[in-house]
């Protein structure tokens, strides 16, 4: 139906409207008189009081509410800038989709006896590294992440992770995850990778 049709009909039915208003007034009047004749002022106050007192408790009843349900995948609070960030999580640093691992290449120190920024015992962190930029879906900020290798033992060999966002070839060493970043440690033998926050990039 077009809008012009609707307004045309409204203009031609003014008389009918006033008749229907009278009908409505009469019906309401009849209803109020009926209620008034069959109820006391006290019962009205009592019921209203009961609703005021116990009605407030209704929201506390143990009912299933949509707002309290845990959604299987929470809607992202912030718009992810990259495909990795769109799937990233902030809880489990032993999974490849942990937000800081957007450009990690290798074995996670968090799965090798170390932690997100800690080397496993028996290894030592490299003073050099390359720097990636990862988006934290928890706070909507991007951070500079130093991918420092832990060195001195051969590969930790837990399931490996390969993040490649922003990863450039080795002629751009500052952005390459293939180089053994163990310069400055005793032996340049790679054990696992950490991801250390070194600044805010937002």
């Amino acid at each position: 139906m077009l809008l012009s049709d609707v307004s045309a009909r409204a203009n031609t039915s003014g008389e009918k409207e006033s008749q229907s208003r009278n009908l409505l007034d009469r019906a309401v009047e009849r209803l109020t008189r009926h209620v008034a004749s069959r109820s006391s002022r006290r019962s009205l106050l009592g019921r209203a009081g009961a609703w005021a007192t116990f009605g407030a408790l209704v929201p506390t009843l143990p009912v299933m509410r949509a707002s309290a349900a845990t959604p299987s995948k929470p809607a992202p609070k912030f718009k992810a800038p990259t495909p990795f960030a769109a799937e990233a999580q902030t809880k489990d640093p032993t999974a490849c989709n942990y937000w800081r691992y957007c450009a990690i290449d290798g074995y996670l120190c968090a799965s090798c006896g170390g932690g997100v920024h800690s080397c496993p015992p028996g290894t030592s962190p490299s003073p050099t590294s390359w720097i990636g930029t990862c988006f934290n879906p928890g706070d909507g900020q991007s951070y500079l992440v130093a991918y420092r290798d832990c060195c001195g033992q051969d590969a930790c060999s837990q399931p490996m992770c390969l993040g490649t966002e922003g990863d450039q070839p080795s002629y751009r060493p500052q952005a390459n995850n293939d180089i053994i970043w163990c310069f400055g440690t005793g032996a340049l033998i790679y054990n696992c990778s950490t991801s250390v926050i070194v600044g805010n990039a937002s």
Binding site: T82, Y171, I179
Partner: protein, 401 residues
């Protein structure tokens, strides 16, 4: 009656028995005749024939225990392992263009995972797989192996070794004297793409090239202007070079191919798109990170058959920054017409593709279980699968490559 029947049956059984015995005796005698008389033996060692176009080297990085890397020698016609040599810690390998030797660049420490570091370039006899010279290097880059960290010139007289110890440089090794003839400092540049006998080119961080000519006896270095943006659409290190004339096809993350004539004055031609060659839209780069389309990816993701000019690229469907994702197909492209010739579907995704350089070429792919697949290049059909040849097969090296 009963007795005679039984007798007859017994006689028949006896005759059958005799016949059977006779037959087995004949068989035994025949078997003895076939089998040589077992005698005392001496231990010996197999010596291989000279290298043929279909005898390839396969690099296994053994990433989960990288100190134990190795190079396998494979007869690709039979899908058979002929031998192996060790190649420690992110090792690399090149073969003399005529197959007279192969060279492994490797790194060891005097006490296993500690002690003094030794960077080595053993030269191997390709028929006995024994070391003919075990040269100590001044250093080499420790990086997940890429073919162009190590290169050899056209006549096999020079080997180029990319080093990051302590700064970016390429060591030039004289293969006759087994000595470093010179070290070329290349600040801000990396890798070595050989052209002819007297030069190589490195890729630089600004998206340009550094050309190193060794013709005068010393290193003359020139630079090209940047021709790509490494932050938005870098070119793969694993781009193929035809060493004889230095023609190189630099492939970018998004799928652009920059035909380049490497020399002391390298010339870069306008780029063409792999996707457009296949009748698709050109793929966007880092400016559209969510755009999903067919893209090149993997590790040794490309190979070139020199004589035909056919380029083989591993392709997968994905977003930008999926440049290391294994390919689900090989796309065969004609570098002359910039057209797609064929798409070969792979049974399992592969991170490497290799090719032999003869007129009955074979293709090679891998999978993440360490299997080696051998294909007939002309038919696009798989002819062999070598189950679990190694742990992490990174690339192949064929004669003349």
């Amino acid at each position: 009656m009963r007795y005679s029947t039984a007798f007859r049956s017994g006689k028949a059984a006896l005759m059958l028995g005799v016949l059977a015995l006779g037959a087995s005796s004949v068989a035994s005698v025949k078997a003895w005749a076939d089998e040589p008389v077992v005698q005392e033996e001496e231990s010996d060692i197999i010596k291989l024939s000279p290298v043929t176009p279909h005898r390839i080297l396969v690099q296994d990085t053994a990433g989960t225990h990288a100190k134990d890397g190795r190079i396998y020698v494979v007869d690709a016609d039979q899908g058979k392992l002929l031998g192996m040599v060790q190649a420690a810690y992110n090792a690399n390998v090149v073969q003399d263009p005529k197959g007279r030797a192969f060279y492994v660049a490797e790194t060891v420490w005097s006490r296993g995972n500690r002690g003094d570091r030794l960077d080595l370039l053993p030269a191997y006899d390709p028929q006995t797989l024994t070391i003919t010279n075990d040269e100590v290097l001044p250093g080499r880059a420790l990086v997940t192996p890429k073919k162009n960290d190590l290169a050899i010139n056209q006549d096999g007289s020079r080997v180029y070794i990319f080093s990051m110890v302590p700064t970016n440089a390429v060591h030039v090794i004289d293969t006759a004297t087994h000595k470093v003839s010179q070290t070329v400092d290349l600040p801000g540049c990396a890798l070595a793409y050989p052209w002819g006998n007297d030069g190589f080119t490195s890729i630089c961080a600004d998206g340009g090239l550094a050309n190193v000519s060794l013709k005068s006896g010393k290193a003359d270095v020139t630079h090209t202007k940047p021709f790509f943006d490494p932050e938005k659409d870098a070119v793969f290190e694993h781009s193929p070079t035809r060493r004889s004339d230095g023609k190189t096809w630099f492939i970018s993350y998004s799928g652009l191919v920059y035909p380049t004539a490497l020399s002391a004055d390298s010339k870069i031609e306008p780029a063409w798109s792999i996707q457009e060659a296949a009748g698709m839209k050109k793929a966007p780069a880092a400016e559209a990170p969510f755009a999903k389309t067919w893209r090149p990816g993997g590790w040794q993701l490309s190979a070139l058959h020199y004589a035909s000019g056919h380029l083989f690229v591993l392709m997968h469907e994905g977003t930008f920054w999926t440049h290391k994702k294994p390919g689900t197909e090989i796309w065969e492209l004609d570098t002359a017409s910039h057209k797609l010739i064929r798409r070969i579907k792979l049974p399992v995704p592969a991170s490497m593709v290799g090719v032999t350089q003869d007129d009955k070429p074979l293709l090679f792919t891998n999978d993440n279980a360490g299997d080696l697949f051998i294909w007939d290049m002309k038919t696009g059909k798989q002819i062999h699968k070598m189950p679990h040849l190694g742990d992490d097969l990174y690339f192949t090296v064929a004669l003349g490559e």
